[in-house]
Amino acid sequence: MLQRIRTAPPRYWLVVVVVLFFAGFPTVISSFQAGQWALALILAIAIMGLNILVGYSGQLSLGHGAFMAFGAYASAILAHRYKMDYLVTIPIAGLLTGMVGFLFGVPALRLSALYLALATFALAVVMPSLIKRPVGLTGGVQGISLPPVVVPQLAKDGFTMLTGSAMTSDQWVYYVTFAYALVLFWLAWNLVRHRAGRAMRAIRDGEVAAAASGINISGYKTLAFGISALYAGIAGSLLGLATGYISPDTFPVSLSIQLLVGAVVGGLASIPGPLLGGIFAYFLPIESNQWVPTQTWIPSQIVATVVKAGPAVTYGVVLILLMIFAPNGIVGLATAGYNRLRRRLRGAADRESGHIPPDPQTV
């Protein structure tokens, strides 16, 4: 055991640090901020789903906001009409959305990447008006208000014991989201390192070659769609928990764009990417509105411009520039930097010892 801990690669330590950080820091920030970080983590979960689909299996979906909407409404309807405990509805909503995604993946099989992008984009645009239709079920334009979040006594007691302060509902929502994020990221990490993940990447990099190697193309592609939708569904359901109210306007097309921006910014086909992407996609519009006006060195005209233009311009510019200059996102940049640094350091070591270091493992 000790041996294993000592030989663990540095990135494992990084994971431990990050997990401890996310577990601990809601106790030192305000309850409101904890609520914000919960939303950022929710985006990160949805982006991880998108990442499995786009980054690992090479199918482009521009409509993941629609899957989030499905998950959110599944949970809300179960909780509101059938009086189920909201926490119980989250995995159910995830599974239901996963099934819908799986079914959507079947016709998607016949489509080229471009057509799939087109169809999912249309889905994202149409979804809000589709939701409005069954008024009895979805509440139409008014949406559904959810019962207020109740913090379980056990969590309350535990939190008070550890930190000495009472747990707010925002903090509770944060920890529920954090738990889901932890499990889902861990599952994704396992998925992409094993058989299914390898198959998906093989399909992404060369469908014909993958088929020739005996990979079940349609099976894995629909599987990727299903898993991806499951993530989005859980994220949508958690979004309902966090905001306490959902309506068709909670899921506009721009939500799907926001998810795509997050996936691209963080880095496609990487596990930490969606986390960074979620944080970026959530805080960019908020911070650009709040942080910029507090900066006195920025000319007031530029401040006014940034505030007035809203996040759309920034999202657009970021998407275009990243695609041109850094298609692998933040994680891609960081990995490239780290590798360059290591090559330097290793080069220095070589000269001293004459050893040829082993190749870094691929994957």
């Binding site: 521009l62 016949r110 489509l111 471009l114 149409v126 809203g310 657009g316 510019v317 998407l319």
Partner: protein, 293 residues
């Protein structure tokens, strides 16, 4: 029966608008195998330029061609600055870039012109005329007329002029064209400019009906997608036919199917897209695609 005819005529009018935007999509698809998700937003921005001109007292019939020229130049500019660096990138990258462009243009328009819907002038009166037993508004007739002229011009340009021939050659056989001295990259830019101008026509035509605001084209682009897919995404003729079919279908569905009504017409477009893609992915006029190892 009379009402039915009227619905069909106004369906054809909106079909003409969809057809123009779909044709813009087809032009770019033919040039580089890409669906331009920013086409609608570019058209919206061009419409705002026309609006500004008309607002400053320029006559509609001068503002219209001026806008087209500006849109043409803008399209070329976009291709040179934004698209060219990623020209050879995977399709995924290209689609994301055009989406970024759409978001950017939408944000810029919102920033410059605000989100308050504005009424856009139409040179045609809203009065109706009795045509073969159906009452048709001059506005619908005008839209049909302008769309027809534009589509005809594009057809003549592509099929009957040297520059059209060069453009098609550059799109279909870039290597061979380059060997024959064609500036392939500039032909692509020309395609973008042309598409941008054609798209602008649809924006200017639809603005009097929908009220001008930055999100105006968000639904129109979906209808245009449906039209392009239905017609077979590489066929200009298909885009026109597809546009008309989509326009009439959506209008009739909205009028006669109570479940669809006014607010689910967009869902009809989605249904058309998915049905065509699943049953006949090459559309009505497309060629079957072959995949090589």
């Amino acid at each position: 029966m009379q009402e039915f005819l009227q619905q069909i005529v106004s369906g054809i009018a909106s079909g003409g608008i969809f057809a123009s935007l779909a044709l813009a999509l087809v032009l770019i698809y033919n040039a580089m195998g890409l669906v331009n998700f920013a086409q609608g937003e570019m058209a919206m921005l061009a419409t705002f330029i026309a609006f500004t001109l008309v607002d400053h007292g320029v006559s509609y019939w001068i503002a219209f061609p001026v806008t087209l020229v500006v849109a043409f130049a803008g399209g070329i500019l976009v291709q040179r600055i934004v698209i060219r660096p990623v020209e050879r990138a995977p399709i995924l990258t290209l689609v994301i870039v055009t989406l970024g462009l759409a978001t950017l243009v939408n944000g810029v328009a919102g920033f410059i012109f605000g989100y308050v819907p504005r009424s856009f002038p139409s040179p045609f009166s809203a009065q109706t005329v009795n045509l073969l037993g159906a009452f048709v508004s001059y506005r619908d007739l005008g839209v049909i007329g302008v769309s027809t002229v534009v589509l005809l011009l594009i057809y003549l340009l592509l099929q009957r002029t040297t520059i059209g021939l060069t453009m098609r050659a550059a799109a279909h056989h870039p290597e061979a064209s380059r060997l024959l001295g064609v500036h392939v990259s500039w032909m692509l830019a020309l395609g973008w400019g042309l598409a941008s101008a054609v798209g602008a026509v649809s924006g200017i035509m639809v603005a009097p009906i929908l009220l001008l605001e930055p999100n105006m084209m968000q639904t129109i682009i979906i209808y245009a997608f449906a039209a392009a897919v239905l017609g077979g995404i590489e066929s200009p003729l298909g885009a026109v036919v597809g546009g008309l079919i989509v326009g009439v279908t959506v209008n009739l569905a909205g009028a006669y199917i109570p479940f669809v009504g006014g607010d689910l017409q967009l869902a009809v477009a989605l249904a058309i897209i998915i049905t065509v893609l699943v049953i006949k992915p090459n559309g009505l006029f497309g060629r079957p695609s072959v995949r090589r190892v």
